[in-house]
């Protein structure tokens, strides 16, 4: 259907875009898939890492704890803080280079894609850790005290009471992070990951039509982000739950 618009001798940028998109559809498709793969996997694993680090940063050392536990927790907390600081204070493109070449330097064979996922995970984890910490902080202390007062351990309280509520509060920020990641995978072309940006660079080089080639991926990025944005808004609305409830009439006579 689109083929009727595609000219074999494109003259203007729009015709060139369609021509390139058609001729290199395979490359763009592969690039899109890889971009999505790295963004989705990197974000999900990054969220997990972020939650773990966020919870660690929130953990309190109580005076009655065993000495070994105190020392270990302090150590882990320091490590977590250093990690978060380093990854938030350096650009992702530099992190990608250092991690990829650093690992290769250590004679460990790692593919660009694996390194790309790793960089995305570590980067996301650092930002998410702060988001989770803030999300936990936004939950009234009374929620925890209510659980503690009935003998719930701080860990169980975190899992059943605090995190579910914090999760709900930080969904918008998580959606933001995913969209950022989707676009930030473009920097991974510096370590030769064949994602969308790399595809555009290659395609553009074949005809010296960089402007048109990058326009093609701009459209792809836009459509992807637009789509996911709508999905997240839908999910957020679903998560809000019902505003009414059914009276359990079977127990009414006891009221």
């Amino acid at each position: 259907m689109l083929s009727m618009f595609i000219k074999s001798d494109p003259q203007n940028p729009v015709e060139w875009m369609l021509f390139l998109a058609d001729k290199y559809s395979g490359m763009f498709w592969e690039g899109t898939k890889l971009t999505l793969f790295i963004a989705v996997l990197g974000t999900i694993l990054g969220f997990v890492l972020g939650y773990v680090i966020g919870v660690i940063q929130d953990a309190k050392i109580s005076p009655g704890d065993h000495l070994i536990k105190k020392v270990l927790l302090r150590l882990v907390k320091i490590l977590a803080a250093v990690y978060v600081e380093i990854f938030r204070d350096t650009p992702m493109i530099v992190q990608a280079m250092i991690i990829y070449f650093g690992i290769r330097e250590a004679n460990i064979d790692i593919t660009p894609v694996s390194a790309g996922v790793l960089v995305t995970v570590l980067n996301t984890g650092a930002y998410m850790a702060e988001t989770v910490r803030a999300g936990i902080g936004s939950i009234d202390l009374g929620q925890r005290e209510g659980a503690w007062a009935m003998g719930m351990s701080p860990m169980k309280t975190m899992i059943y009471i605090v995190l579910p509520q914090a999760f709900k509060n930080i969904i918008p920020e998580m959606a933001n992070t995913f969209l950022t990641n989707l676009k930030m995978t473009s920097v991974l072309n510096v370590i030769a990951v064949q994602e969308l940006f790399m595809a555009a660079k290659t395609v553009g080089g074949n005809y010296y039509k960089y402007f048109e080639s990058y326009l093609v991926i701009a459209v792809i990025y836009f459509v992807l982000c637009f789509f996911f944005n709508k999905v997240f808004i839908f999910l957020e609305k679903k998560m809000q739950g019902k505003s009414d409830y059914a009276l359990a009439v079977e127990y009414m006579d006891n009221d």
């Binding site: 009655g64 009374g142 719930m152 351990s153 409830y245 127990y251 009414m252």
Partner: protein, 246 residues
């Protein structure tokens, strides 16, 4: 005198330079209903929070059936599962329904089966008249209803003692009555209760012992019949006269 459940011994608590509790000695015996009264800032709530270990005392100790509760998380958890607490701000779990609120801790702390936990939850929700609301979320309830659910939730743990931290202070006057009625009814079941309250009439009618706290000290500890009609301490007299005048 019946068996001592909780014994607070020589307990002091400071926040920085500010001494909130000074050398408190209180024994709670089985079946007692103790009301703690006193002006705001006299340390009533802090005392209750120290008893429950939500605050760490600066010195002194809290004993449970003669055994000191140390600041070890496991011991504290075990102890807290036997000492219920009802808060001024309810502290119902906002992410759960009324039923889930009442079942969570019996499932996760006492490891009851789903059926047992459910039966207990319904029994106690009926007791406070909140059973029809099992499917409601806390945000959908009035203050009085929330507090009744919170009481039911604590009862599900079958506590040896139930601590109340100003349970009616966040409620408007109409709702105070419904919560106090539930507490009065509980008082007849033989449950041991320690209640921090500003409801003088309730303290006078329901408690078996009333404690008046003043500036971090236990100023007077007597049966309500004596404390309310013939207080020994001039500070108690002053405090009560202000209440009666108001």
């Amino acid at each position: 005198m019946s068996e001592t459940i909780i014994s607070v011994q020589d307990l002091s608590k400071s926040f920085g330079d500010h001494e909130v509790l000074r050398k408190i000695d209180i024994d709670v015996h089985v079946g007692e209903i103790i009301c703690i009264v006193g002006s705001s800032g006299s340390g009533k709530s802090t005392l209750l929070r120290c008893i429950n270990k939500l605050e760490c005392q600066t010195s002194g100790k809290v004993m449970f059936y003669g055994k000191e509760i140390r600041d070890v998380q496991k011991e504290i958890n075990e102890y807290r599962s036997k000492v219920g607490m009802v808060f001024q701000s309810f502290n119902l779990f906002n992410n759960m329904t009324v039923l889930e609120n009442c079942m969570l801790c019996t499932r996760k702390v006492l490891h009851l089966s789903k059926e047992e936990a459910f039966d207990r939850a319904i029994t106690h929700l009926k007791e406070v008249g909140m059973a029809p609301y099992v499917n409601a979320k806390p945000a959908q309830l009035s203050g009085g209803q929330k507090q009744r659910v919170a009481i039911a939730r604590s009862l599900c743990m079958n506590p040896e003692v139930l601590l109340f931290d100003e349970p009616t202070s966040a409620l408007d006057p109409e709702m105070v009555g419904e919560v106090l009625n539930v507490m009065k009814q509980l008082a007849t079941t033989g449950l041991t209760m320690v209640i921090v309250t500003h409801e003088m009439a309730f303290a006078r009618d329901v408690s078996t012992r009333t404690i008046f706290m003043d500036r971090g000290y236990v100023a007077e500890d007597a049966p309500p019949s004596q404390l309310f009609t013939n207080p020994k301490n001039p500070r108690t007299r002053e405090f009560l006269s202000r209440y009666l005048a108001g």
